[in-house]
Symmetry: C2
């Protein structure tokens, strides 16, 4: 393809974004140059600032540009309840549900011996210490219902039970609005096993 | 949504990209921060460099960071044949077909009186002068087969005929690999009107 070096460099650089292939990258580049140079300038600055300033919260490991994040600093939240999730995206998802008022602990991954990711890589020792030090009453395990997520939840349960803290796992079952006909077998099995008496 | 200011700024900034909504922007932001900070840094620089350096070729109006673009500077190209297209993306599309060895003129738009875009906004006077000065032999009109593209092609034809240059329009018809059954009526009408004798 004939494109000037700076143009080609931008097309190549845009491919670092997930879901952006060569055609999309080309379309984005031409769109920015033709119609939104101001947007490109703002994006360039936002990227540089994010890379330079965003690190991890000392307490929950979520992304933040401060020492501790806004959720950990929020005095209105219940401080004896911690929800353990795999990624910052999971925190956003739970926050958007507006159904949880405690704190979080973000593993930034899950246990995966095959990839060499052990308990120390996802901060479990720090977490154990925090649960003890702060006298946490309940830990909600909200790791993904995948093999690795379940293994991580199991490891956490084994680690936390000796401390005497209450450990719970979020419910898995048929999603709201989902039709039974289209729900996979494993989910249905979970939904049946996790049934509750109707009062 | 609870996100640190720098994180939220990046999510908002990514939405200037075409086809990127709030969910994609969030996914891209978290992907970059979790897995590709180097990519984010490179992208930031590429954006800044592109915005600062890329302008328009003095001859063909295509994007370039020099005074004239690489195609206009290429001495191996036929210099008496010019293909008129609407956008830089069209130049890339024609180049990828590897079927044209002349030069280009990029309108950076099309005539659209309703949006206040007249002949001077798409550089037609400069183009007319260039055709006269350089003794161009043929101008190929490759504007889009839309109402505005056709109007622009018509205007160009009227403008160029008095000069005595040969003016042609790219063929419109059934695309290769397309099935007649699924081709729209206007395209079929074009294909029939533009039929050629089989030799």
């Amino acid at each position: 393809m004939i494109a000037s070096p700076a143009l080609q460099k931008l097309i190549d650089a845009l491919r670092c974004l997930p879901g952006v292939g060569p055609k999309s990258a080309q379309r984005m580049t031409l769109h920015l140059l033709e119609r939104d140079r101001e947007g490109a300038r703002v994006l360039s600055e936002a990227l540089a600032e994010a890379v330079a300033r965003i690190g991890h919260c000392r307490l929950c490991r979520n992304f933040t540009e401060s020492d501790t994040c806004e959720i950990c600093n929020d005095s209105r939240r219940e401080r004896n309840l911690i929800c353990v999730v795999e990624t910052p995206a999971d925190v956003l998802a739970v926050e958007q549900s507006a159904s949880f008022r405690g704190l979080y602990f973000v593993l930034m991954g899950h246990l995966s011996p095959i990839d060499g990711i052990g308990p120390e890589d996802i901060g479990l020792e720090t977490f154990r210490q925090r649960v003890i030090d702060e006298g946490i009453e309940e830990v909600i395990l909200a790791t993904n219902p995948t093999v690795e997520g379940e293994a991580t939840a199991y490891y956490l349960t084994e680690m936390l039970h000796p401390i005497g803290v209450k450990v719970s796992r979020i419910a898995h079952g048929v999603p709201l609005g989902g039709e039974l006909e289209y729900v996979d077998g494993s989910t249905l099995a979970h939904a049946l096993a996790g049934r509750r008496p109707v009062e």
